[in-house]
């Protein structure tokens, strides 16, 4: 089942990416990138490895059955009250279709496309910053999940309040989301933080990719709303996710370029020579 859903997902996201590449990225950039593929991969290699490790940790953590150390659901619920239910009031089948699509496919798309778009830029700094920001989002988010065990609003909703939420509307989506997440991983919302991260970077690169900026803005806001509309996150999770995104974007600027692998190699060599 998971396999079928994933194949479907790869197809849909693949088509979205192909169209975007054709629309947003120039042919010259692609050919230059192909020519310089080796050197670009060398420069960006370490960042890719670190991101890979972060994703692996995420995968391992998902398999644990334990909730976070501090059960905080009740605190969050008390703090924000019925805020989240406003989305249930505006619920319509069309909106549910839209937000479910955005939550699952749109999210995967907006995370992958900028990585491609920045990889083909002649300066790889933006690419490395983006991946560093992704890594930080995961690592910080996962650390908080270990501490804070909280369940999302849909776990509490009454049938009449629920309207059509994600898993009733498309039960098959649950196979994908349980693959990447557990239902106590709520605070902060990583969907929000990663979507916002992409949105901020799209703003930085609006001169290179003006149309992408518009698409990224609409989609990342939609992803953020979808997390609440579908009852997956509390508003507090979203606020925390936005703060996390802001921090990760800032930190990526501080970190990237500070230490490069060649520097380290050079310095070690010097030390050895001495």
């Amino acid at each position: 089942m998971l396999q079928e859903v994933l194949v479907g997902m790869v197809q849909i996201v693949g088509i979205m990416l192909a169209i975007s590449i054709a629309l947003f990225i120039s042919r010259e950039a692609l050919t230059t990138t192909l020519a310089q593929l080796r050197s670009r991969l060398q420069i960006t290699g370490p960042v890719l490895v670190v991101l890979g490790i972060a994703l692996l940790i995420n995968r391992l953590m998902r398999q644990s059955e334990e909730d976070g150390i501090f059960p905080m659901t009740q605190v969050i619920r008390r703090l924000e009250g019925d805020l989240i239910y406003v989305f249930q009031d505006i619920e319509t089948t069309r909106l549910t279709m839209y937000f479910s699509f955005v939550y699952v496919y749109g999210y995967a798309y907006i995370l992958i496309f900028p990585a491609i778009a920045y990889f083909v830029l002649s300066n790889t700094r933006m690419f490395r910053r983006l991946l560093t920001a992704y890594t930080l989002n995961y690592l910080i988010g996962l650390s908080v999940y270990l501490l804070v065990g909280a369940y999302g609003p849909r776990q509490f909703m009454y049938p009449e309040e629920m309207g059509v939420v994600l898993y009733d509307f498309g039960p098959e989506y649950a196979h994908v989301t349980t693959e990447v997440n557990r239902n106590t991983n709520v605070f902060p919302s990583l969907h929000t933080s990663l979507a916002a991260t992409v949105g901020i970077f799209a703003f930085y690169t609006r001169s290179e990719y003006p149309y992408w900026f518009v698409v990224a803005l609409i989609l990342s806001i939609s992803v953020i709303i979808s997390t609440m509309y579908l009852g997956i996150h509390w508003a507090i999770d979203v606020v925390a996710g936005l703060a996390l995104a802001a921090f990760c974007v800032w930190a990526s600027d501080q970190l990237v370029g500070r230490w490069t692998l060649s520097d380290i190699v050079d310095r070690t060599r010097e030390a050895l020579d001495r």
């Binding site: 089942m1 398999q63 644990s64 059955e65 334990e66 909730d67 150390i69 501090f70 059960p71 659901t73 009740q74 605190v75 619920r77 008390r78 703090l79 270990l146 501490l147 369940y151 849909r154 776990q155 509490f156 909703m157 009454y158 049938p159 009449e160 898993y167 009733d168 039960p171 098959e172 649950a174 196979h175 349980t178 239902n183 106590t184």
Partner: protein, 628 residues
């Protein structure tokens, strides 16, 4: 062979590493957390606050909804109520092992025979793990204990019914826990792939026996969807918090007797309706027969004759299995009574303690390889329930597992029900049942294959259903809605877990689908922790009754179960319910203080105000229940 052998008890699990790492942090934060909490919740020390433990909607759609209903009504009555939501495993650990909760809402496994109340309520079990009195319930007068003991000794059905009536009268006035409703069991399967869906109840092994592929089905492999992934990780038959139903264990492990659920002919495939009767019987299975002998002192002894040529499974090919003999049966009862076999703390098997307590284990006499005498402390009726425990192979549990673990004294001194043998997922899954373990993939699936040497195969006996399907695969699914879709689209064959109420109406009207409603003995209930002296006053039966008046069972069955549940006043199956406690729109003892799910505040307040003994009184200004 691809069995997962990671044993969380033997190894260092993530949790303990984490806990160590976070210990410092949590210590320094704990005071701060309390402050955060009181600021956030606005709780003063004076107001009565209660927490309701439950699982998330992903694990069970109805439990948290019932919990929210109760939470809202408690708040209306001036009590600071909170919901403590946990994962299925943590929830069961918290309730069954640690007894660390105020109240909980959950599904009770129940039983077809009311004797399960003995282990559920007897005060000697108040500090035992498992479904043995998780409510820490005991009364000063021991009246309930006496009735529980009397009903299991009553040999005459009429007499037993009378004692049970007294017991249930005591139950509704004491309210050690509050039964809420009994969900309808409902499953669906592909009729175009298999025939024989209606031969046995699917909560028992018999549901899977006698199923045979249709002409158009050439693979003869059945895929069943389960919404609880725990059996894909651990099928240790002793583990307390592992699962609510025994079906998979029953397929791998034979028992002396098997439960047959039968309804009269007018019945609609075993659905409880007013005009038909469901009957539960224990019939010989692994035992060829048993004969009851009345002893002079009024006790009963069963003379059990085993089938010959029964062998246990082997996990290696080309090996023949060990024969199953009277020694294995004796050993099983000894092990279930105390899983350390006298080597350490007494640690009974949490799942089967009530069953085994009916047996006089020390008095078991082996006559020869296939015959033994088992003396009972109880009537024959209750005794037969003890024939349903899984018979375990002595050569594995004693020699391979127990001896190895006894070397580690740490393991043996673990609290009751928590030591390695009971919690391990690394026990060799060897039984003698109709299906044997084949493969397990963590959190995803469990595959069993037909045991071709099983005694039922090729037997002429009428009641003996045999395994025909070659391979059974239980696949973890994300929920009932997804399961219905998968079966309807032909992606899977059967819903092994009963469907949750919300998904029943989504079952498409399709000729190739078989729908299987069935009688049920599980029920949703509200548990109170009567054993906490420093917590809320749950030791007081009047307080418990006042809380019960905040639960609108009729509303719950209608709204949260869409009518696919029957509200109940007492926790026994229909045939044992005394007339006075049959459901008649309202709870006979503690009617809901309100209507349509909404509590009438004055009614609720007066219920609490009329309690003589508790330390809480209404604060008229704030309308909250405040400490005196």
């Amino acid at each position: 062979m691809n069995r997962t052998t990671t044993d969380p008890v033997d190894g260092v699990d993530r949790r303990s590493v984490l806990a160590a790492g976070a210990a410092g942090l949590s210590l320094s934060l704990s005071g701060c957390m309390d402050n955060v909490r009181s600021v956030v919740t606005g709780t003063t020390d004076d107001q009565l606050s209660l927490s309701i433990a439950t699982v998330s909607q992903d694990d069970n759609r109805q439990s948290p909804q019932i919990a929210r209903h109760i939470e809202g009504n408690l708040e209306a009555a001036g009590i600071d109520a909170t919901i403590d939501m946990r994962s299925q495993t943590e929830f069961l650990e918290m309730v069954l092992i640690e007894q660390d909760y105020d109240m909980f809402v959950g599904l009770h496994p129940g039983d077809f025979d009311p004797d399960y109340l003995f282990e559920a309520l007897h005060s000697t079990y108040a500090d035992e793990p498992g479904w043995q009195n998780p409510y820490a319930y005991s009364t000063g007068r021991n009246f309930v204990d006496d009735l529980l003991e009397d009903q299991r000794r009553a040999d005459d059905e009429q007499e037993r019914q009378e004692i049970l009536t007294d017991l249930l009268e005591e139950f509704v006035s004491e309210k050690p826990f509050e039964p809420i409703c009994r969900p309808h069991e409902f499953r669906i399967g592909r009729g175009d792939r298999f025939d024989g869906w209606h031969d046995g109840h699917f909560a028992t092994q018999r549901g899977y026996l006698g199923l045979e592929p249709t002409d158009s089905n050439d693979d003869n492999e059945l895929e069943a969807l389960i919404t609880d992934s725990r059996p894909t990780q651990n099928i240790n038959p002793l583990m307390a918090e592992n699962r609510e139903r025994e079906t998979i264990i029953d397929l791998v492990y034979d028992s002396l007797g098997t439960v047959i659920v039968e309804d009269d002919e007018d019945g609609e495939d075993g659905v409880d309706t007013d005009d038909h009767v469901v009957e539960y019987r224990v019939e010989p299975w692994l035992a060829e027969s048993w004969e009851w002998i009345d002893d002079e002192d009024g006790t009963n002894t069963a003379h059990v004759t085993l089938r010959e040529d029964v062998t246990f499974h082997t996990l290696e090919e080309d090996e023949t299995g060990e024969p199953l003999t009277a020694e294995d049966v004796e050993f099983t009862y000894q092990l279930l009574e105390n899983t350390t076999l006298g080597q350490g703390n007494t640690s009974p098997a949490p799942r089967y303690q009530g069953h085994v307590s009916a047996v006089d284990v020390d008095g078991i006499e082996i006559e020869n390889e296939y015959e033994l005498r088992i003396p009972f402390h109880t009537s024959t009726m209750v005794g037969e329930r003890a024939f349903t425990v899984p018979i375990l192979p002595k050569h594995i549990w004693l020699e391979d597992e127990l001896d190895e673990r006894i070397g580690s004294s740490d393991d043996l001194s673990a609290p009751k029900g928590e030591w390695g043998l009971v919690t391990s997922s690394a026990i060799e899954p060897v039984g003698s049942g109709p299906y044997q373990f084949a493969d397990q993939s963590d959190q995803n699936s469990l595959t069993l294959e037909r045991f071709d040497d099983h005694f039922s195969i090729g037997s002429d006996e009428e009641d003996l259903l045999e395994p025909i399907v070659e391979e059974l695969t239980f696949v973890a699914d994300t929920g009932s809605a997804s399961s219905v879709e998968r079966i309807a689209s032909g992606g899977s064959d059967f819903t092994g877990t009963m469907l949750e109420a919300y998904a029943i109406d989504d079952v498409p009207d399709d000729d190739s689908l078989e729908t299987m409603p069935a009688s049920s003995w599980t029920f949703y209930h509200l548990g109170f922790n009567a054993g906490r002296v420093d917590g809320p006053p749950f030791y007081d039966p009047q307080f418990r009754s006042a809380i019960c008046r905040l639960v609108d069972k009729e509303f719950i069955a209608e709204e949260f179960f869409f009518g696919y549940a029957d509200p109940i006043a007492v926790p026994v199956t229909d045939e044992w319910v005394p007339e006075a406690f049959e459901w008649d729109g309202v709870d006979p003892e503690t009617p809901f203080a309100g209507s349509d799910g909404e509590v009438d505040v004055n009614g609720a307040i007066s219920a609490f105000e009329s309690i003589d003994s508790i330390d809480y009184r209404y604060d008229e200004d704030e309308e909250i229940l405040r400490r005196n």
